[in-house]
Amino acid sequence: MKKALVTFVLLWVCLLSFSQNDSINRLEEVWIQADRKLEKHSVGYKVITLNDSLIQRNPESFTALLRFNTPIYLREFGAGGTSSASFRGTSASNTAVIWNGININSINNGQTGFNSLTVSLFDAIDVRSGGGSIEYGSGAVGGTIHLNDNLKFSDKKCVKNQVVSTIGSFETYQNLYKFKLTDNKLALNFGVSYNQSENNYKLLDTEFRNFNGAFKNLGFNASGAFLLSNYSNLKFYTANYSGERFFSGELPNPLAANDKYQDFNHRNLLIYTNEVSMLKHEVQLAHLMQEYRFFDDREADAFNFGKSNQYLVRYNASLSIAKWYANIFSYLEYESAFGKTDQIEERNRQQLSQSFVYKQNLKSVAFFEAKIRKDFNSDYEVPFTHALGLKIKPLKNLFIRANTSKNYRVPTYNDLFWPGQGNLELTPETSKQFEVGVGYKNNTISVDIATFQIYAKDKIVWTPNGDLDRPGIWVPINLRQVNNKGVEFVFSYDESFNKHNFQFDLNYSYVQAIDERTDKQVIFVPKHLSNLSLGYNFKRFSFFSQQVYNGKVYTTESNSEDFLLPSIFIVNTGMEYKLLNKKGKQLIIGLKCNNLLNKNYVSQPRRPMPNRNFNFNINYKF
């Protein structure tokens, strides 16, 4: 691996020496993002963006935000409990969460808990459907969720502050402060959030309340960009989170619940960028620390834990070939990860990855990308991956897009090293996928409909008969093949008449995720999933409504009708009024009602979700 590293470095030193010094044209306003891959390498993909006002309309949880606004199915163990995602019918470790360009899925279990981070501090969340292992590595199979801090250089100095305070049912208090500074050579973001809730909602149709469901968490994010010269800038990003949750009980006896869970995360990223003429270089250094503690008995001091430290060094370069309307990108990454749990001694895993992307613009009618990636991992063989993306704009507002990619999910530390059960013979899961879509976009309407197929093989499954020499011992093996086929549809409409403004956003997806062995739908994947968001603004007043529908969900492999979760249809609605609406100063009050129809619904057996509830918020921007 060392040899490979040296070769790559030498290669790029050579390229560097050809570079010329030339000033870049600076615009009045320059947006700066840590992750350029999403913007640059999504040719042929669908990306939807959840902006900060939408994020703030869904303060309840990251889970609720995604459930009501994206084509992702979330499986939640009661509101605020453990939460995992299924994107395009894939399994929980097949949705990657990307923080400023870095995959933050846990190395212990391969997932991100969607109730173990708060996202209100981020400026935008992008959701890209489809595989992205070339750009984001393991787990970017069904799709990727991107948490982004947006920084901006501006010729005009500007300082913005925002305070959002929310009081809700079940003694829920959520507070957020954000600070933004933009200047011509300096951009700074800073934010802190604190949330707490008793979360003791009534379990409808029972005598119980949600017991042992309280949570509190503190988040602190900061980021900054410094223009060092006309050619170079330096950026830093930090995100820190500390949370404590109790895991609520399930029917028939919620009072049996006794668990407590703590999360501690620190994520730090430093980026140096140099852009001279057609050549751009970037060096990134990152450190990620994640720790969880699980208390089986909330009163006791004893706990189980998992802790990981990941160190990343990246070298990115891109060359723009103006006369061919083409770009070449190179991404080199070295990662060293240390992981341990109370059951697993500390293990170190190292990986060197190199990817290349070639991007071609054909007369601004067609855009084409070809990508390849190879990883060298100290623990297992990671397959060579490749992807193609294509977008054609035959008419002004119409486009046709297509992509294909090979993606993977590596075995987790738990899969490999769990004492007495881990399996060192595991290989990464791989999947091949294809997508074709057509869309239309103008100033008021945006439509995209696509059909996709994912062929996943060697899915890692824990099973009591995994090791024939040791029947009864649960071990993970590369077992399952799953074929997903589906359709994703998104329709957005935004129109203004006089002072009236209407918004309509619809996501619908249909997924058949068939286990080859059983020829049945895989468990916890609904075939139909839809959400609709309606908005109306008039002068200082705005109204919104969110609804989500998902079809019934089977929980057994044979799709037994005796074990299923019924379909759900849930409506939230709210309104906002701007008490103060001046340039640079706004005071908005809002009221939101969740589960307006007071439906008794579950996303996990025997765990009712909250009954009708309210929150009131004050949002002050100055």
Partner: protein, 356 residues
């Protein structure tokens, strides 16, 4: 469970007798409920679905899933550990739900759900008007384990008897309780003998992780210890402790015979039928005479799939191939021909077979 089986036999005999007497008049005896004259299979449940009980009629013609839910429109939760019986009632022990649900054993209509003063309940024995339930207590405390004493008239826990770590299966016999201590979240190697007169507890040390136990026809207590796998501080496997079948004289509380398994062999599941002991080892079932002084060297048959529950009756061996992601399978083998004679879908995570 032995008691329940004995009662069941008595009951079946009485029904046969009654039927014989009344068949000329009415044709059939009055049914006690839909779930009479059949087999009950309990399943632990999992993330895929609730713990549940399946009913299979004696002629294997009728199969009903989720019978508690069907009758009571409520779920039992996870993990349904075991059932206990008296003449008219069944007691369903669900460990994560900290509950004992009382139903009519023939109709499965719910009579009570006991949810207080139980902490990870595992097994229950019935004597007179009392139920005795083994409880693991808190996961982080090895010293708070206990037997909950339930008044079967008021359905409340009236007292507790503190015992050593990890009480598992329990038998009531002649005014005493016999408890195997498998060790809950860790390990243990004792059998507790509790005198119900004064709740005094005596302990017998056996091999590690004792689980199944019953009385043989000589009146001796037979205990199956599974043994366990040893890890070093870094959780590398460094060896095993031995499993055994221990035959205990309950008067002297001494081990008369100890049949020790080879290192690395961890037997599980053991039942007695017709003076023969049957036990499971690595998915294979072995048969031996209850007075045998050596372990058999060859299995009587290989159970299909993941052997997670077993019973033997009337020359049939009932094995459970448990699935935790789907319905499980009950396989019935003829002990003479070793042929599989029935394959029936049963509860998710199926672990126990009872004759009703």
């Amino acid at each position: 469970m032995r008691i329940s089986k004995f009662l069941t036999k008595l009951f079946i005999l009485s029904v046969l007798f009654l039927t014989a007497c009344t068949s000329d008049d009415d044709g059939v005896a009055a049914s006690k409920g839909n779930f009479e004259n059949g087999i009950l299979v309990s399943g632990e449940g999992s993330g895929a679905g609730t713990g549940s009980i399946s009913f299979i009629s004696d002629d294997f013609e009728t199969v009903n899933q989720l019978i508690y839910k069907g009758v009571n429109t409520a779920e039992l939760g996870t993990f349904l550990q075991s059932l206990a019986f008296d003449a008219q009632r069944a007691f369903i022990v669900v460990d994560n739900a900290n509950s004992v649900t009382v139903v009519d054993r023939f109709t499965f209509e719910s009579e009570a759900v006991i949810t207080t003063d139980l902490i990870t309940p595992r097994y229950m024995a019935v004597a007179a008007d009392k139920g005795y339930v083994t409880n693991w207590g808190s996961t982080s405390d090895d010293a708070d384990d206990f037997i909950a004493v339930i008044d079967l008239n008021s359905y409340t826990v009236e007292s507790t008897i503190p015992v050593g770590n990890g009480p598992e299966q329990i038998i009531a016999k002649d005014g005493k309780l016999y408890v195997s201590h498998k060790g809950a979240f860790t390990t243990n190697n004792i059998i507790s003998v509790i005198d119900l007169v004064d709740n005094s507890v005596e302990e017998i040390t056996v091999k590690d992780n004792p689980d199944e136990l019953f009385f043989n026809s000589n009146g001796d207590l037979v205990v199956l210890s599974q043994g366990r796998t040893l890890f070093d501080a870094d959780f590398n496997v460094i060896g095993d402790t031995l499993g055994s079948i221990s035959i205990i004289n309950v008067n002297s509380l001494s081990i008369d015979t100890e049949l020790v398994f080879a290192e690395g062999e961890h037997p599980s599941l053991m039942v007695l039928d017709n003076n023969k002991i049957y036990y499971g080892l690595s998915g294979e079932i072995y048969e031996m005479d209850e007075n045998s002084t050596t372990l058999p060297s060859t299995p009587v048959l290989t159970a299909e799939g993941f052997l997670y529950g077993m019973e033997v009756e009337n020359n049939n061996i009932y094995t459970l191939n448990a699935s935790f992601s789907d319905l499980s399978t009950l396989n019935v083998y003829d002990l003479n021909s070793k042929e599989k004679v029935q394959t029936i879908p049963v509860a998710l995570g199926a672990s126990k077979v009872y004759f009703n």
